[in-house]
Symmetry: C2
Subunit: 118 residues, 2 copies
């Protein structure tokens, strides 16, 4: 976990790409069940994470998704995508396109920077 407050918590998803997940602290299933405060907090974190990923990694695209089909607890994925990653231009849940050889700056430094920005 890299960040938490009374509304949400932010976790790292281990991956070849920079990927974090934002969970609501409350165990609710659908996004529309969030309070306005929870929604705004999720959007604040998406916004800062996206900007930080774009600046730090020079990502080609940011992907954002909320499924929860397996884990019925509201959580959002925020992923930095690169044209040479293993799945681009497919979503990370799609068919593998290649064996990526990404040369990215330190993930640990990024996660620290992100935690400080949140």
């Amino acid at each position: 976990m890299i960040y938490k407050n009374e509304l949400v918590k932010v976790e790292i998803e281990p991956s070849e790409i920079p990927w974090v997940k934002v969970f609501t602290q409350r165990e609710i299933k659908e996004f529309s069940e969030c309070t306005l405060d929870e929604k705004l907090e999720i959007f604040r974190i998406i916004d800062i994470t996206e900007k930080t990923m774009l600046e730090y990694f020079k990502a080609d695209k940011i992907n954002i998704a909320s499924f929860g089909n397996l884990l019925p607890h509201v959580h959002w994925h925020i992923m930095a995508r690169f044209k040479t990653d293993s799945y681009f231009p497919q979503p990370m849940w799609g068919e593998k396109q290649r064996q990526a050889q990404l040369d990215l700056p330190s993930f640990n430094v990024f996660f620290k920077q992100l935690a400080e920005s949140l």
Copy 2:
């Protein structure tokens, strides 16, 4: 297209499941480039669409995603998912799990109701 205003437009994605896409009118690439008004309008539409899908279709889960890897124009997918659809619990971009035989109420009636709610 089922709805538009000065900020966004809402289109139907033809699919076995109820699926709509919300585009910004402006041709921008990343969500963080949206103005506050555009963001709030997208969230308003996600919220109403999700609630309408849950009520009308008794969906098992709502999925929300913004990729734009192929089409670099901000757009959000909102999908009503069912345990018996062809991909559940995978995202709609994942591996097919079965040949679905869904028996859902009229999509046309739903799209009309949704357009009126927006």
